[in-house]
Every structure is written in structure tokens, then in C-alpha cells.
């Protein structure tokens, strides 16, 4: 079974897990609800209610942005804050999501995800910091510096000729390559933490490096496939949502439910991605794993057989001493 098929299968099986991710998205977005309420109140009190119920009105929107500029500023600030909160929430939740996927038990999920996420949060936060640092360094070396150099060389070149185009496309392609590589290693580090292959971010990155050795391209392919899934899903639902243009309260509720269904499917894509990457990673695990790298010297330990459901649930929450080389994902 390919990683993609395994991912799809896991996405369908772990519907509750997707529900947790969707809930994290929805709850985060709800932070902006009250600023939005104040911002949009005038829609029902002002002169453009009927026209806006019918659809888009450019003049209504331009004048609204001016008339409600203060409320708009508050709402924008709340969206910025929400972005930060959501980022932290995802760093937090990923550990729990991976643990649940590794164990393969679709339920109970909510409490489990929270508990496992809490146990892994510190290490995951360090991993995220390392990801940002690595992205900055490699981005600087392989993207910003060459682009700056090319731009300098192209200073007297006409626009959209070889050198300026090279600078542009280098920025795009090299930026994507750097992000995919750094991101993949970050993802694998988090898998290592979730599997207990490492106690901390440093060790996890070391494990991730071993997993990637010689197999980077296929790992990136997994990433790209699921990114494409997600982008397509987003495009389809956004486009359909815009076309719906509801005219009644019932239709607005329908739009709301429809879009949340879209975001839920997007959360399933997220679960599918993690499951696919776990399968990919699992196939590249050696017969033994490195643990305890935080203590300095490597401790070699033979892999244990696939954890049974009971054993998995009885596992201590910290779980860092447990390693598996085959999970329920493959066996189910």
C-alpha cells in the first residue's frame, strides 16, 4: 500500500482526529468573532443591507472600510493575534495527533490528544524554533543571498530578461526547495519525538536526518502530494462558497455549514498527510532506533514489536522510552 493510499485510509478512519484539528481551527477563528460582530453590525443597520444581501457592492465595501476604519483596525489586530495563537496551537497539537496516529486507535481522541500534546509540547516548541532558525539560515544562504547577487548582476539588465528572471525564479524555486527540505526535516523530527525515538528536539532532528538520508526526494513527494490535495480542496470550497452568495438567513447558515465541512475535509487532509508521512518514515526505519540522544552517548535498543492497542493505551504518557518500528497504521 502506498503512503498516499495509507494516508487516505487513515484520514477516513481517524475522523475524530480530524475533528480535533477542525475544532482547533474553528475555535481559533472564533477569537475574531466579537470584533467581527462589531465591525459588521452596520450591515444590518445601514443603507446597504438589501444590496449586500443580493451580493457584492464595491461602493458599499469601500465606504464601509472608511466609515468603520477603527473597527476594521481592531478586527485586523484580532486576526493577527489569532494567527499567533493558532500557530502555537498547531505546534502543541501535532505531538498528540502523531501519537494517536502511531497508536492507530481512532478513539477516544480528544483527551488523549491533549494529554499527549502536553507531554510533547516543550520538545515540539524547540523543534519549531529550530525549524524557524533553519529556514532563516538556509533561506538566507540559498535564497536571499543568491537573489541579492543576481539582482546586483542584473542591475543594468532589462526587466524579464535572463538575469532578472533567473533572480525571480531562483527566489521562488529555491525558496520552495528550502522550505520543503527544512519543513520535511521538521516534520520527521516531530515524528521522532512522537514515536519516542528521541527525547528532545536536538535528538529528533538527528533522527530525522538519518531518515532523510538518500530518500529526501521521495519524502518531498509525499509532502507535495498532500499540499496539492489541500490546495485543491481549499480552492474548490472557496470558489463554491463565493458562488453560493446566500440571500436568506437559512442560506447563510447553509453556507456556514458547507464551509465548515470544507475545513473539516481540509483537516482530514492534514491527518492524511501525517499518516502518509508516518508510513513513509516507518518504511525507512532501521531495525533499531536511536534513543536517549539527550544523554550524550547513543543507546542502541532493539525495536519492539507493534504495540497492541492495550499496550499502547497503558503506555506512560511521556512515552519517550517507547519505540516502535511498525505501527497500527501499516497493520490495520
Amino acid at each position: 500500500m502506498s503512503a498516499t493510499v495509507s494516508g487516505l485510509s487513515a484520514a477516513l478512519r481517524h475522523r475524530r482526529l480530524a475533528g480535533v484539528l477542525w475544532l482547533s481551527l474553528f475555535a481559533s477563528a472564533l477569537v475574531t468573532w466579537f470584533p467581527m460582530k462589531s465591525l459588521f453590525a452596520v450591515f444590518d443597520e445601514g443603507a446597504f443591507r438589501e444590496v449586500l444581501m443580493k451580493g457584492w457592492d464595491g461602493w458599499a465595501m469601500l465606504s464601509w472600510m472608511t466609515a468603520e476604519s477603527r473597527s476594521l483596525a481592531i478586527a485586523t489586530a484580532s486576526v493577527t493575534g489569532t494567527l499567533l495563537v493558532f500557530a502555537l496551537l498547531q505546534i502543541f497539537l501535532t505531538g498528540g495527533v502523531l501519537r494517536v496516529l502511531v497508536d492507530g486507535k481512532p478513539r477516544p481522541v480528544f483527551a488523549r490528544v491533549i494529554a499527549e500534546s502536553a507531554s510533547l509540547f516543550k520538545a515540539n516548541l524547540w523543534a519549531a524554533a529550530r525549524f524557524l532558525l533553519a529556514a532563516s539560515i538556509w533561506g538566507g544562504l540559498f535564497v536571499a543571498a543568491p537573489v541579492a547577487l543576481l539582482k546586483k548582476l542584473a542591475r543594468d539588465a532589462p526587466p524579464h530578461t535572463l538575469l532578472p528572471d533567473l533572480a525571480f525564479w531562483w527566489g521562488i524555486v529555491a525558496g520552495a526547495i528550502v522550505l520543503l527540505n527544512v519543513g520535511l526535516r521538521y516534520d520527521l523530527a516531530r515524528i521522532a519525538l512522537a514515536r519516542g525515538d528521541a527525547r528532545n528536539a536536538r535528538g529528533a532532528y538527528r533522527v530525522a536526518k538519518q531518515r532523510l538520508a538518500g530518500r529526501r526526494a521521495s519524502g518531498i513527494r509525499v509532502l507535495l502530494v498532500w499540499l496539492a490535495f489541500g490546495a485543491a480542496m481549499q480552492a474548490v470550497f472557496t470558489s463554491a462558497g463565493l458562488r453560493m452568495n446566500p440571500h436568506t438567513n437559512g442560506a447563510v447558515a447553509g453556507l456556514f455549514v458547507f464551509r465548515q465541512a470544507g475545513f473539516y475535509l481540509l483537516a482530514m487532509v492534514r491527518v492524511g498527510f501525517w499518516a502518509a508521512l508516518l508510513v513513509w518514515e516507518e518504511r525507512r526505519r532501521p531495525a533499531y532506533s536511536v534513543i536517549g540522544s539527550a544523554s550524550g552517548g547513543a543507546t542502541w535498543k532493539l525495536s519492539e514489536p507493534i504495540a497492541t492497542s492495550a499496550a499502547a493505551s497503558a503506555r506512560p504518557e511521556t512515552g519517550s522510552s517507547v519505540t516502535t518500528n511498525g505501527s497500527a497504521l501499516l497493520s490495520s
Binding site: L21, L25, F26, S28, A29, T32, M36, K37, F40, A41, V42, F43, D44, E45, G46, A47, F48, R49, E50, L52, M53, G55, W56, G58, W59, L62, S63, T66, A67, A75, V79, T82, L83, F86, A87, Q90, T94, A128, D156, P158, P159, H160, T161, L179, G183, L227, G230, Q234, T238, S239, G241, L242, H247, N249, V252, L255, F256, R259, F263, L266
Partner: protein, 692 residues
Amino acid sequence: MKQLVLAATASLVLGFPAAALEGPRKIVDYDIAVSFDPETKLVEGSETLKWTNPGDVPVGELRFHTYWNAFRNDRSTFFKESGGQLRGDKADTGKGWGYTNVTSMKWDGAELVKGARFESPDDGNPDDRTVLVVPLPRPVAPGETATLAITWKAKVPRVYARAGYVRDFFFFGQWFPQIGVYEPKGRRRNSDAGWNCHQYHANSEFYADWGDWRVAITLPEKFVVGSAGALVDTERTGGKKTLTYAQRSIHNFAFTADPRYVLVEDVFDPAKDIPKDEIARAAKTLGRSESDLLSGFHKVGIRLYLQPDHHAFDRRHIEAQKWALAWTGLWAFPYPYAQISIVDTPEDGLGATGMEYETIFTTLSLKWMERWPFNRIFVPEMVTIHEFTHGYWMGLLASNEFEESWMDEGINTFTESVMVDRKYGTYMSVPPGIGFKNEEMNRAQAALTQDHDPILSTAWKYVSENSYGRNSYPQPGTTIQQIRNLLGEEAFWKAFRDYAERWRFDHPTSEDFLDAMRASGNPHVAALIQKTWYGRGWIDFSILKAETEKDDGFTGFDDAGKPVNFDPDPRKKKKPKEKDDREKKGPWESLVVVCRDGDIEMPANVVLTFKDETTVTRTWDGAGGWIKYHVTSSSPLVKAEVDPERRTVLDRNPWNNARYTKKYEGPSAAAKGRTYALHLVEILLSTLWGVL
């Protein structure tokens, strides 16, 4: 073959205007020879200028613009005012300086340069070198033509403000010593005769006299040249070529050179390129026959000098150009020249973009706008339409842009909006259907903002560049739209066309346009003009109050002392009011208070909507600050709205134009808006799933 085509074009050019032009008063005649070295950016030129004294008194000195001295150093008035950046482009203060040095000026054998001096009539800046005053050994008599032989040397500045170079791209605007305008008494309603020759300011454009031009340009063979006028002669020697262009009846001359230009040629054919529905609309509105409207049209050659990376824009610019030729021909008067040249500037030379000269202008193409979904942003088309139409409001009606910048930019913004919105609808629309009309964008910059200047001011005396921009472009554009709404379609467009026809090939002033608008006798138009062109007037309609109550008759004691509608026993509790008394049958008493803030008085309709879906419309003349409506009806009032047709385009806050008598129970636009906004936030957040 190409030579033959060029020669044929030239004869066409020189042939057409003779019939089409009614003949401006020609004051100048330029015969210029210029050569430039693309490596050193140095220019050498000589010109024979024939200048005729148009006044009835002798003139003892001449005044010249030496515009490129604005880029001479950082002490010029232009540089001080702009801070070295204009319209988003920055000056190259390393090697980008430029200048114009007049080396000789002879009249009747006498050298005039020795006695010449620079003056700064606008700001007294002793370091500004953009106005050259040349005392004459003897005055030029009224009607006398002085023939001057002038030579000059110049360096092309690196482009950041209209003219200059970037790499091998050159745009020559305001590039030669150009004589100022000697205004006789009465010209542009002046009470005194005198020179009108202003310094080059950051926020000003130009003003010049009409005349005929012949310009010979010598440059390396590899360059493709686009120019005002038509090519009448070509000579080639030693890797260089000399191209001679000629054009009659214009008041400025610009050209461009770039070896990378791709020349796209087309012809505007009135028989094919004027939309039939537009002809019918114009004929009906203007009250003229279609044949009358079409009588002055003729074929116009279109030459598009395109950057090679912008090939995807060729049809976009050409189609926009044809539409502009058709529209202006119908609603103002047919374009009188035989050709128009469109110059597509490179994306690293955007300082030269969006600049207009007669029979030639620069337009905008941005490569990222060539593909879906960004090809739905019609900014390139808008720029082509805008810059071409300058050829009317600055070119054919040669207003003084130094002193009355709105006459060009403001009227042009208005006509641009009409043209762009009619042809393209929502001109910024990504995704489809969600976007803004051109007029809405301009209106937002005018009606929704506050400012410290009236529309009418000299260009460099506005409090800021923003104020110059607002009061030259969107504010007059939107106010003209307001006048259109006040006058109605027929009266407005007739007045508009009358103005255009009356002042073509002349120098109109603000009052000429405003008089045309006032001619209908509409008092609101006259008041609006006073408050906006000469003041900082504004207006905001609002519904202050909208209440409705069941009329249960009076409450209290009647004449016989009997209690009515209440129980006088203090021990009895008051009967609780019904939760929603709007379900009761009438009669209903409603009170609506409509307000008008700001100092512009404007009439508006007030529409009262009742629960049984009947409506009552009253027209308020806008006098006073407010008006109250007491209405008795059989159904409760649901909504009161002032100006529901949104005819008051200057309304500063259109959102307060309606009020509901109670919380609305129908479909909620707020819920719809919140839902879409929430989804937008969720989309934004979910993108982090791709990274975190």
C-alpha cells in the same frame, strides 16, 4: 518598403489636420535638430524658434523653460519639493543628474545669452535654474515674429519624474529650451498682459503655446524611435540615423528611443471601431443626429511601441485606445490628428509611465497582470485611456496645468471613469465579480476623505502632495459626476460637449468650464461649485431618527374630566406594553428626522417604507441642517432612507443614510458578512497547516 509606408503615413498626417483642424492661434514655430549619445547621455541641440508677439504691447524680454535643470542638483525647487521621489519612483542621486545649458541664443545677429538670467517667479529660490529670462536688445512689436537661433547642451537625467533614461530606454519630454506663454490682456480672463512661465515644480505639469514643429533626431541606428508627429525624412550615415518628424498645431513635442521596442501598428476605423450602441446613446443624449456626430471622424493610425516582454498587452492597449478614440469623438469632438503613438515604458523605468503629450503618451504594462486571474485588473487599459484623453483636456483644450491642474487631471479622471466603467465594468476584479469600479475607486479617494485645500489652487501651493493629488484628480472628477447627477444626463452632456467644442485649440480657464456647467441655471450646481472649487465643502446625509408608534388617541383626562387610556387608581399596576405593538392595526404615527451635515446644500429624496411594503417619497431641498417628517399611516414605518438612488456621490458617509425603526428581522447582511469574514480568517489560518 518601410520607407514607402512611412512616407505615406507622413503625407496622411500632414494632410488630415489641414481639413480637420480649425486652426489654433499659432504663436510658435520650432525647427529643432538634436543628437544624443546613449553612452554619455549627452545631448546637443539647435533650434530655430519663431515667436510671434500675440499682444498689443511690445515685449522687451523673453522667458524660457529649461525644465531639465530641475534635475541639476538637490537645490532645485523640483528636488526640494519632491525630496527626490515622485509617484513612487526615486531619483538616482549618484549619476542620475541632468541639466540644460543654453549655449547661444541669437536674434538679428545679437547674442542674447550673455544678458540672460535665471529667475524664480514662484518661490524666489535663488538656486533654481528652470526659468531663463532673456532681455532683448529691442522689444518685439505686437504681431512681430522674432526668429531666434538657439543652441544648447544637455544631459539626460535618469528617469524618476516623467523624462529621462534607464539603460537604453530614453524618454524625451520637456527636453529643449521652450518659450513660455506670453498672455495678452484678456487671455484666460487675465486683466493684465504678461509672461506666464512658471518654474518646474514637483506637483505641476505644463502650459505652452500652439505652433508647428519639425524635429530632426540623430542617434545610433539600433534605436527604434517613437515620436509626436509623423516621420517625414530619414537619413543614415556612419552607423547613425537622422529621423525627422513634423506635426502641426500642437504645443509640446516629445519622443522616445529604445532599441528593444516592438512596433505594433493598427488603424482606428470609425466605420468598424465605434460601437453602434454608443453612437445611439450619444445621439439621443446630445440631441444630435448620428450622421452629425460621425461627421468629423476619420481613420487614425495607432502606433504602439511595446516592450518585448509585454507582448501579451498589445491588443489590450490597442482596444483601449480605439474605445477612447470612439468615446471622446462622440462625447467631446473627433480626434483631429492623423496618428497617435503609445509608448510602453519598461518596468524599471516606471517614472516615465503615465505621461501625456500631444499625439504621444506613455502607458503602463506590468507583466504579472498578463495572466489569469490578474488579467482582470484593467489598469493597463485604464492608463491608456487616461493618458490618451489628456490629449483632449490638456492637449486640445490647452489648459494651464501649473495654475489649474484640475482642468486636465480632474476632467480627465471623470471621463476616464465613464469610459473604463462602460467598457470594463468592474475593472479590478479578482476573483471575478468581486472588485471595484473605476468611479468607485476615485469616489472613495474624494468623498470619503478630508482635506485642507479647495480644488482650485496653483499646483505647488497645495498643503501636500496628497492634497495636490486629491484635488487635482478624484475630487474634481467626483464633483463633476455630482454635477452630472444634479443636471441630469442630457443637460450635463450637452453642456460638457459645448465646453469641449467651444474651447478646442484654445486656452480655457476654470471659469470657462464652470460657466458651462452653471449655464443651466441650476442653483445647486452654482452653490456646489462655489463650495468645492473655491472652498472645502462637504456633505453627509443621515437619518437621525426613525420611530413609529401606534396612535391610540390621546392619554389623560378629557374635557369632562374622564380618564382616557389610563387608570387613575394608583393602586393598580400599569398594564405592560405589548412586546411588539407593530402587529396592531393602525393608525400609526411615525417621526423621521433627516439631517445634512457639511456646508454643501443638495436636494435628496427621502423614502419611507412601511410594513405593508408601501413607500412614500418626499424630496428635500437640503436647505437647513435637518427636516422632520411626521407621518400618519395604516401600517407601521419600517425604514427611512435619504438619497436611496445614491445620487449624492460626495456623501461622506453613505452608511448612515438609512435607519430602521426596530431591530431588523429579515435576512441579515451582517450575518452574511461575518460568515464570509470568518471563512476568510479560517482560510488564512489553515494555510499554516502547510507549514506548521
